[in-house]
Symmetry: C2
Subunit: 442 residues, 2 copies
Amino acid sequence: MSADEPGKIIPPRTLKGFRDLLPAAAIARERLIASAIGVYRLYGFSPIETPALEYTEILSGKGGDETDKQMYRFIDHGGRDIALRFDLTVPLARFVAQHSGVIGAPFKRYHVGSVWRGESPQRGRYREFLQCDFDTIGTESVMADIETALVIADVFAAVGVEDFTVRVNNRKVLSGLLERIGMEDNAGPVLRALDKLPKIGHDAVADQLQREAGADSAQVDRILALAATGEGTDIDALGDVVAGSVVGEEGAAELRALLDGVRTAEAPGAIVLDPSIARGLDYYTGVVFETFLDELPGIGSVMSGGRYDDLASVYTKQRLPGVGASLGVDRLLTALEELDSDERPATWALVLVTQFDGAGSLDALRVASELRRAGIGAEIYPDVRKLGPQLKYADRKGHRIAVIAGPEERARGEVQLKVLATGEAVVTPRSDLVMGVQRLLA
Amino acid sequence: MSADEPGKIIPPRTLKGFRDLLPAAAIARERLIASAIGVYRLYGFSPIETPALEYTEILSGKGGDETDKQMYRFIDHGGRDIALRFDLTVPLARFVAQHSGVIGAPFKRYHVGSVWRGESPQRGRYREFLQCDFDTIGTESVMADIETALVIADVFAAVGVEDFTVRVNNRKVLSGLLERIGMEDNAGPVLRALDKLPKIGHDAVADQLQREAGADSAQVDRILALAATGEGTDIDALGDVVAGSVVGEEGAAELRALLDGVRTAEAPGAIVLDPSIARGLDYYTGVVFETFLDELPGIGSVMSGGRYDDLASVYTKQRLPGVGASLGVDRLLTALEELDSDERPATWALVLVTQFDGAGSLDALRVASELRRAGIGAEIYPDVRKLGPQLKYADRKGHRIAVIAGPEERARGEVQLKVLATGEAVVTPRSDLVMGVQRLLA
């Protein structure tokens, strides 16, 4: 590798709004993703991959003006107008339209991938971030809605979070109300106003409903009364709100089936009706989900989604309804770090095999190989050095046991196993190495 | 989601040279990566992440003119000259220089990530592809070289490939020979010529050595005689070649220690000396590795690497020697598909729970929940339909068992378990569901 001008040092740095993940953070992310994917797989979701780059035409106009402006867009070597994807939903829409003949229906996919948005960097927000989505395409069955809620609940259980609440609503309930109060043509502005309720409060939303959705004060009262029922509303309470509206009654029935389903499956955590959940995005048409950590409500929803009934209509005339949700990987990681202050290891390997005399290096290889064959991660300190710095290295990286086999131990056919957290040292016959380590790790 | 012009259909397509992965291919890739990472972790390598986008200044001039030309490079919203990474090695160099104060030494990382090169698309080559690298930075110990070879061998064993050969060489051996024949200043052109030996043959390499490295015919003979010893050369045969050259003897000693080490650790497969292995890249300074599948030698090396002693010198004055290798994920996947013609499943879930009467949907949820709690992947067919299409769906996706519980089975407290590959059906008491499925899967 050579610089343009020999000897010139290029300052090593990441782009503004971007970051590296060092091992401890990358391991935490790997664990979280593995937990989420593990649940997705248990429910029959399969992975897909799509390119990071797409024709700009495929991406633009799909996420609104804001995302269009934030897109990393450029002209490639072949003169094509291309851009980096800003979410995994638009590529999914393109994918199902393109491959509908092959993939069949229902099509259940998950997708873990980076997306890019040139937003103004804020604390905890980056211009490249990871999404971890799952969706069921090609069915309007409430079963798919139920399973979406179950997956969300199981993901949090798998991650080790016990106190979480999945708040559920259905767009059709609001549509039913709007129909009854003669505002069915203004659903979009109403939704956008309601979505701000937790942030800007009752009065500001009332104001916005009047200004942007053209509601009069009676209409505002009806809309805000529905939202005010809040988390844990009894499903029976919706009967009055939607009575006489076909779409509204359909929404209430779907919610009832969903709540029955998650009760039957004995889902962990709390899955409750909350008529105030709106989700800002226009494309939802049925059930919507948001998930909050009970101990950290302030960070907002960490897993959200819903049903959309014309995902791919821009790319195909085929109707492709779907339902799904997206895990906010980085937001949940931040939360987990706040909830659990334990030191995070910077290694997957539990054991460090030390080396402090050159004659022991083949033996170190034998020790490590035996451990690895037993499925125990073992790192060999590569250089012959004093023991002190090697143990310090193990401490810092988060190894749990150091194996010490100097000339004396080797002569006696023994190894010393040192538990790094406590300093406790156990001397074991060399032939019992694996068992001895397993015992200390248990 | 709305198009720019309502009703206008945008043809769904990927960019030239890019592709989607459908579930069966994505699952095969997930399996391969999990196997490789599993081995990396066992040896104490930890994950890192770096951004897909870097300052162009960081990337350019590091991979040669060819990669500079192929870079996806553009100006971002802030007027910055930026580009997509074309490999994971240059970002690693930037990373270790930037974080050297925090990460310590030795630093052992793995990194799985996409890279982008605007190459002319060829069969089996794409403009976005996945790399899966591991490296040990901050040590010159032969132990790190030995472990690199062991990791490579264990990756192939983990993937289920038994017949593979890791060919090992050391740049210093060639340097020793060049020193002895007075060509030590022409190592670069000699390496590039030798690297082409398998492709263009003896005579063309001889010609290139004369034209581009300025070798006379006696020098050509000495260089080609070393390479001709080929795969499986005895380490003792190198003694004569390098005798009297300090660097050459060092290279031979390192190779001897490496071969001793891998024998001691009882590495799977064959790890053999091959003095013809050159690796085209200039930056290798010590051991080099290539790995070939014995049954498919024609596809070339599927995992390659080596030692480089000034990885990050462009970014820092600190000396950061390293050794590592990179798995050719997509090349190996293609090979595995050729070696094993079994149908590849398009799902991780082994069971499909059918639904053919609406009254059974809560029961289907109970069945699926029990299986999932036992760790068995179970997908519920979301719609109420005739059994035929549901079984066809399961067949096509690769589920192994269909659970059938119609009104009659439910009335009798039974379920029917159908093995999709054979059509065999077993009727089991509902209470023995999990055990019955486990028995059929075993």
